[in-house]
């Protein structure tokens, strides 16, 4: 029952540094507190990305000058590496002597209790992004959670994004939830990073200008949130990236002096198109303009027969085998576009009250190689005898990953099934380049 856990000014500076996180910081203060106050053996912090978990905990521990060890779990490839890092880190930070390595969690417990036995101060072991640990198992997490119970002066802090019930399989440790920021909070946070309107003629930067900039900035952030960020990029980091990217083109008219700062709505109308496009939402390595052209031309320049083979593979994957006769038999030439009525259900049995799923949505189905060859022969405009060359082209398509093996059996086995690995748009483009009307052959 201590009067106040932390000096008030400390909390105030933290709250200034991290706006809109007052309840979380207060809870942290209650749980971590000072050296005299007790701490629970394990604490779990959870919240989606970019809600300030890592930054706040680190700054908090720095500010209260607690002794702590920081382990970034996602950087450890094996459990052994994680254990060694923890033991090395704790030994170093707690001022113990290095007595060898700890390869497993049992040895780790021994090492840590040795290193911390003489410590008068509380020690905090922060496991950042613990849910991203490779090779992590529930037993491992449970053991890590128990470390704090084994060693009285140790508190283990777990940071993870999605809470998992019974992660530590122990009676529940205190959780602190870092809620996602709302629109108002996000804008408030971004207001800390107001960017200048570039190329302004005014020589000296006055208080007035700053105020105007803040006004435009906040309005702008609100618009971006409503039009783009709310839909796809809620977290502050993504939001800020979008705002950063769009800010300069947006305020260009102001910089050039065409618009005033208070004329926000007409400025918005001028740039209305900008908020409709999605270019700023999708991360692209290729610059936005070039990407569109590239996608169209980025087709493999395949040999003539390979293109037909690919079309045949697509048809084999997406058409039900039952309908092959309808589509590909020469005698049935006129009837091939005729579709049967309601009776065509897919390969899976479904009751009539359920809606039918479009075949294209179900993804490619596996087919035997013979079927591919039969369809290939049927769709070719002229006859060609099967030769090693055709087989080789199939092999080439496989190595290009346009065809993939769907079963685990050997390639040469007759029962091996295959699957096409290209989308409709790509196939249509390929088919057009050899003047083949693939639309006629696709079952609806």
């Amino acid at each position: 029952m201590n009067d106040d856990i932390l000096p008030a000014e400390l909390l105030t500076t933290l709250n200034e540094q991290f706006p809109c996180r007052a309840p979380q910081i207060r809870r942290l203060a209650a749980l971590i507190g000072t050296d005299e106050a007790p701490s629970p053996p394990a604490i779990v912090l959870h919240g989606l990305e970019a809600t300030g978990k890592t930054a706040i905990v680190r700054t908090f521990l720095d500010t209260v000058e607690a002794s702590y060890t920081w382990i970034a779990c996602h950087e450890c490839v094996t459990v052994r590496q994680l254990m060694e890092r923890i033991s090395a880190g704790v030994t170093e930070n707690a001022g113990g002597i290095d007595t060898g390595r700890a390869g497993d969690v049992c040895a780790l417990g021994v090492r840590l209790s040795g290193a911390l036995s003489g410590a008068e101060r509380k020690h905090f072991l922060v496991l950042d992004r613990v849910d991203r640990t490779r090779e992590g198992s529930s037993v491992l997490f449970a053991a890590l959670g128990r470390l704090g119970e084994m060693i009285p002066s140790l508190t283990v802090i777990f940071i993870l994004s999605v809470p998992k019930p019974r992660l530590l399989s122990s009676a529940e440790p205190p959780h602190i939830h870092f809620a996602p920021y709302t629109k108002e909070e996000s804008i408030k946070i971004l207001s800390k990073y107001v960017r200048r309107i570039p190329f302004q003629d005014i020589e000296e930067y006055t208080e007035e200008d700053a105020k105007e900039e803040l006004y435009v900035w906040q309005k702008f952030c609100g618009t971006v949130w409503d039009s783009l960020a709310k839909g796809t990029a809620r977290n502050v980091v993504q939001f800020r990236a979008i705002v950063d990217e769009m800010w300069e083109p947006f305020v260009k008219p102001i910089a050039e002096g065409k618009y005033g700062t208070r004329n926000y709505s007409s400025l918005y109308l001028l740039h209305k198109d900008m908020f409709r496009r999605e270019t700023s939402v999708i991360d692209m390595v290729v610059p936005a303009g070039a990407a569109g052209e590239k996608a169209a031309t980025n087709m493999h320049d395949l040999p003539y027969y390979s293109k037909f083979l690919l079309c045949a593979a697509y048809l084999a994957s997406y058409n039900p085998a039952r309908q092959d006769a309808t589509f590909f038999m020469k005698s049935n030439d006129f009837g091939r576009k005729k579709r049967r009525g309601g009776g065509t259900t897919g390969p899976t049995k479904r009751t009539s009250k359920n809606r039918k799923i479009h075949r294209r949505l179900l993804g490619p189905q596996a087919f035997p190689l013979e079927r591919l060859q039969a369809i290939f022969a049927a769709i070719l405009p002229h006859r060609i005898s099967s030769s090693a060359d055709i087989q080789m082209q199939i092999a080439t398509l496989t190595s290009l990953r346009l065809l993939t093996k769907a079963s685990a059996t050997d390639v040469l086995e007759a029962s091996t099934k295959w699957r096409v690995n290209a989308g409709w748009d790509y196939i249509r483009h390929v088919a057009r380049s050899v003047k083949f009307d693939i639309e006629d052959f696709v079952a609806e």
Binding site: M1, N2, D3, I5, P23, R26, R27, A29, A30, L31, G33, A37, H46, L48, T51, D104, V105, C106, A107, V110, V139, A142, A143, R146, S161, V162, P163, P165, A171, E172, P173, H175, H177, A179, P180, T182, A229, K230, G231, T232, A233, R234, E278, V281, I282, T348, R350, T351, N354, R355, L361, L362, G363, P364, R401, T404, A406, R419, N421, G423
Partner: protein, 413 residues
């Protein structure tokens, strides 16, 4: 002997207090070896740990321990030590051969208590070598040892092999949660109130003011339980949910840490919910999802019901999403409400994969996360939450502000 009970029923506490009582009575007459199934994940590690703990307790040099490479040697040397209590004090450097040439060693018999926490995990070790040997020694009275296991699993005896089971004494103690609310409160009160006798004995010369302060605190607690409606509801909720005193104490941390010594104001448990509590389910992250992610999730969950399969891929969910959004657009153009935006496939695929990262979607085939040669859009996933759950969440406004409109999609299929 086994102690079985749910988490937080005080198995370990009971054991530790018994041991500390024993230590007072028979100091130096026994050793304790504590093992935990979470830490000693296989018999080899467990054996090494036994060696170490025995070594520490018997003040052996660490160099005396055998090389850890040979499992059989280690086991036999430990067995030898345990089986020859007369020569307990003299394991020599070779370790594998207990020192029989040292007849002058002390002949005091030391008992060893083995405590195996999470006993069920030891039963999963291959061939249950450790358990077999421990039980065998205990049963055949070669050495005075006692094996005590604690576990949460009631059926743990069933997981023992036949030869191990037959050597087990079948003595079990069940610890239960308090059967009544009153009993639960007694436990919680014990944790919160200040023990006056302890105050008198430990803090010598405690001032009258302190005494008064503690007394008023205790009576305040009693008062809270009897009269405060909110406090009662809070207590009852925890009792109904998990009967775990620990979660009650968790909920007390914040009010206690903010309370001061100016009694009898004390903490008021007017908190709406347990702020430090564990989230109920994965649904609690719904309010952090973007509109697009949430809509895709709803679309995928709808597909579960519509097409009567429990798996779906991105293509199916996206087409459902497109249908939903455009239907909304048609409806809203009549009423004049701004409709949700229809995002392109690339953006939606990103959102879809983020849902998978949050484990709201799990791959339908094992190892399907890496695809198995199928393109990203065609991979099959299973939705982890039901449509009705999402709908309820939206209705209660727990999934963010201004999203109640989406709840309509959860109801009309």
């Amino acid at each position: 002997m086994l102690i079985i009970g749910a988490r937080g029923t005080g198995k370990t506490t009971l054991l530790e207090s018994a041991i500390s009582d024993l230590t007072e009575e028979h100091k130096g007459e026994f050793l304790t070896v504590r093992l935990n199934g979470f830490f000693q994940t296989d018999d080899k590690i467990a054996l090494r740990e036994i060696w170490r703990q025995l070594g520490v307790e018997m003040e052996l040099d660490e160099k005396d321990q055998p090389k850890t490479t040979n499992f059989a040697d280690t086991l036999s040397s430990i067995l030898a030590i345990l089986s020859h209590p007369d020569e307990l004090r003299a394991p020599d450097e070779e370790g594998a051969e207990p020192a029989e040439e040292d007849p002058s060693s002390t002949t005091t018999t030391l008992s060893v208590i083995f405590i195996l926490e999470e006993f069920d995990l030891f039963a999963t070790h291959p061939r249950q070598t450790l358990l077999y040997n421990l039980f065998d020694i205990a049963q055949s009275r070669k050495a005075p040892i006692a094996v005590i296991g604690t576990t949460t699993r009631i059926d743990v005896v069933e997981s023992l092999e036949k030869r191990v089971k037959s050597r087990f004494s079948h003595r079990t103690v069940h610890l239960k949660n308090p059967p009544t609310l009153k009993g639960f409160w007694e436990i919680c009160k014990e944790g919160l109130s200040v023990d006056m006798d302890e105050v008198d004995s430990e803090i010598n010369g405690s001032s009258d003011e302190d005494r008064r302060c503690f007394e008023s605190w205790n009576s305040h607690l009693e008062n809270l339980y009897k009269n405060d409606k909110q406090f009662q509801r809070h207590l009852r909720r925890i009792y109904a949910q998990n009967k775990d005193p620990k979660s009650f104490f968790n909920s007390c941390i914040l009010p206690l840490s903010s309370s001061t010594t100016s009694f009898p104001t004390g903490p008021s448990f007017s908190l709406p919910t347990n702020q430090l509590g564990e989230p109920d389910s994965i649904l609690s992250i719904l309010d952090g999802l973007t509109d697009l992610e949430l809509t895709l999730l709803i679309a995928a969950a709808r597909l579960d019901i519509i097409s009567d399969t429990d798996t779906c891929n991105f293509q199916m969910a996206y087409s459902e999403y497109t249908a939903l959004t455009s239907s909304l657009k048609v409806a809203s153009s009549a009423t004049g409400v701004t409709a949700g935006r229809l995002w392109s496939k690339e953006v939606a695929l990103g959102a879809w994969e983020r849902l998978a990262e949050y484990e709201l979607l799990v791959p339908a085939v094992i190892g399907g996360g890496s695809g198995g040669g199928v393109s990203r859009e065609g991979r099959m996933w299973r939705v982890e939450v039901g449509l009705a759950e999402i709908g309820k969440c939206l209705e209660m406004g727990r999934a963010g502000i201004g999203r109640a409109g989406l709840g309509k999609w959860c109801k009309e299929v």
